[in-house]
């Protein structure tokens, strides 16, 4: 997917990265670990769920070397992420923050477009 970067709206940003949205193509861009990755809406939601389900505690307790990193290969993107616990924490924060902002945006939209309740007196 190619979107004009100037037209992207920032959803949420931390010092480690950001989520941006493209209103032309209806997609989200994840800016993380030095790269930009585009997600269709449903793939973005799925990616967030996958990241949410990673058990960081498990990674820390498990002493095998393979458990130091988690490999994420989201479908329909040309990207794979090999992340340690610190990076995963940062990614979780970005995705959760973005999700919160998106939900807030939906709520605000609903408030602004809903007509006030008709009073019967």
């Amino acid at each position: 997917m190619i979107c004009e970067l100037v037209k992207l709206e920032e959803v949420y940003r931390t010092k480690d990265g950001a989520v941006l949205q493209c209103n032309n193509k209806n997609c989200f861009w994840l800016e993380f670990a030095g790269n930009h990755t585009a997600f269709r809406v449903q793939d973005f939601l799925q990616f967030k769920k996958t990241v949410d389900q990673i058990d960081l505690e498990d990674m820390l307790i498990d002493s095998s070397r393979a458990s130091d990193y988690t490999l994420l290969m989201p479908f329909r993107t040309q990207r794979c992420f090999l992340l340690d616990v610190t990076q995963l924490l940062a990614l979780k924060e970005i995705l959760q923050g973005a999700m919160f902002m998106l939900e807030l945006n939906s709520l605000l939209k609903a408030c602004l477009t809903d007509k006030p309740m008709v009073s019967h007196n």
Partner: protein, 175 residues
């Protein structure tokens, strides 16, 4: 900002994952009843075996009802992974007692779901759950009635045979 998620789905993240969890519970119920049907057949309780086969089909239908609802509202319905299905049971009576416990667990899950709908102000899903909440009254009633047969008839002599014969006759009157 354009509401991209709202354009894709009408179902909140929490409600979607709770409904998917319920899909899994229904699938689990279905598998448990199938195991009970097999056990009853193996022990020679033909009517109870048929009864549990029917229950297994019903649970599968419940699962599909939720499955379709999730996807119809723009969510991602998850095909459930089913583990921990008991294959052996202590006694004829204990099969029904476990079935009742399973139904009570399901009722509790639906209650929690309804509670979540209120918290999330998702009254569309709340409305969808009404059918299941009513259904649970019947499911629990049927299992309780079955267990009562063990006390009323007694398992001695040809008692178990009699109980088995009475299982399909249990009916629920919605009043």
């Amino acid at each position: 900002m354009k509401d991209l998620i709202g354009l894709k789905t009408s179902i909140g993240e929490k409600i979607e994952s709770a409904l998917n969890a319920q899909i899994k519970v229904e699938a689990h119920s279905s598998s448990i009843y199938l195991a009970m049907a097999s056990w009853c057949d193996y022990q020679g309780y033909d009517f109870s075996s048929d009864f549990f086969l029917e229950q297994a089909d019903e649970e599968r239908a419940h699962m599909m009802k939720i499955f379709h609802y999730v996807k119809n509202r723009g969510g991602k319905a998850v095909s459930p992974e089913v583990v921990n299905v008991p294959q052996d049971f202590e006694s004829f009576r204990s099969v029904f007692e476990q079935a009742l416990e399973q139904e009570m667990h399901v009722t509790k899950q639906f209650n929690n779901l309804a509670d979540l709908c209120f918290k999330e102000k998702d009254f569309v899903t709340f409305q969808f759950l009404q059918w299941f909440l009513e259904e649970q009254v019947e499911e629990e009633y049927t299992m309780r009635r079955a267990i009562e047969l063990f006390d009323v008839i007694g398992e001695e002599g040809t008692g178990a045979w009699d109980i088995d014969k009475h299982i399909p006759k249990i009916t629920f009157d919605r009043g």
